[in-house]
């Protein structure tokens, strides 16, 4: 299982692509589908590669991304 997962609010996304460029693991890409506003929103194309670093969320101007990390067993 992946160490991280991101949840993108598809309807908040404006398809700017900054998160896609910021992801060091190349997890994200533009969806072929469009949202309510007509943008090709970002989605996790390769979810298994996500490490939960939150670089995408930090760079998102629309604050559309939540990031979760796997609990590490103590």
């Amino acid at each position: 299982m992946a160490k991280g997962v991101v949840v993108i609010d598809e309807d908040r996304c404006k398809g700017c692509g900054l998160c896609i460029a910021a992801c060091p693991q190349h997890v994200l890409d533009f969806s072929e589908k469009i949202n309510k506003s007509g943008y090709n929103y970002a989605y996790m194309k390769y979810p298994e590669k996500c490490v939960g670093c939150a670089f995408c969320a930090m760079t998102c101007p629309d604050v559309a991304i939540e990031v979760y990390r796997e609990k590490v067993a103590a």
């Binding site: 949840v7 760079t59 101007p61 629309d62 604050v63 939540e66 990390r69 609990k71």
Partner: protein
């Protein structure tokens, strides 16, 4: 696509002091990143109940909608003067004056310089995107030499239009300001540096130390006619040469 986040820890989400209102900024505009950083800072310092934002005229004119805090929308360029009045009337309030380069460094020149020179205990965030964004991309005082805008279609010729003004450097020559810095948001490292600088500026105000100015090199993909990713590269490769990053004053 629904994702299962059960048994996972949330490490990043919308700051609590941010409203759910959708931003009016263009795709990829750095005004949005700054909005999130400010809200996160308000959360971290626990000052949401006493923060007042002064919204400028410009693309950030709706800044009063973004935070679960009080706000006032000032007339063009006068945000630092309005901030002064609010802070002096009730010094317990934490006052943020959020201004674009046209607002802060052009029409508001007098108000901006004198608020800094009086050492008002406020935090100013000065968004330098080298154009008047809201009105369609006219030349700003910060427009780079040779840069094409709607009012400099052949590129800014300094012989005719003057040179790009380094406003933060001017303010850094004054005795009163406690913190003057220039930051950027073109990559994750810069975003983290900007977060630290903005937190420092607010912290100095909370501690009663005086005037802080955080200039942020921002993008305007729409009026620069660049993709958001290319606009980031332009800041990295071109804009930072004219406007070097770093602290100019830190007397905290």
């Amino acid at each position: 696509m629904p994702v299962n986040t059960e048994n996972m820890i949330k490490v990043f989400g919308r700051p609590k002091s941010m409203t759910d209102v959708r931003s009016t900024y263009c795709p990829g505009c750095h005004h949005g990143i700054l909005t999130r950083i400010i809200a996160q800072t308000i959360d971290e310092l626990g000052i949401a109940d006493r923060t007042v934002t002064i919204a400028p005229v410009g693309c950030a004119v709706f800044a009063y909608l973004w935070y679960k805090c009080d706000a006032v929308q000032a007339s063009h360029g006068r945000a630092s003067a309005v901030a002064t009045g609010i802070k002096r009337a009730n010094p317990k309030l934490i006052v943020l004056s959020y201004q674009g380069d046209g607002d802060f460094a052009s029409i508001g020149t007098a108000e901006s310089i004198h608020a800094a020179n009086r050492g008002e205990n406020i935090t100013v965030i000065f968004v330098n995107n080298q154009v008047y964004g809201m009105t369609g991309g006219e030349m700003a005082p910060t427009t780079l030499i040779g840069q094409r805008t709607t009012t400099t279609p052949a590129g800014r010729d300094p012989g005719y239009f003057g040179y790009p003004i380094r406003f933060s450097e001017l303010i850094a020559t004054l005795d009163a300001p406690v913190y003057v810095t220039r930051q950027a948001l073109y990559d994750t490292r810069r975003i983290m540096d900007a977060e630290k600088a903005i937190k420092k500026a607010f912290t100095y105000q909370v501690e009663g130390k005086g005037y802080s100015l955080v200039e942020v090199l921002s993008t305007c993909p729409t009026n620069w006619h660049m993709s958001p990713v290319d606009a980031n590269r332009h800041v990295t490769e071109v804009v930072t040469k004219a406007f070097p990053l770093g602290d100019m004053v830190d007397r905290g």
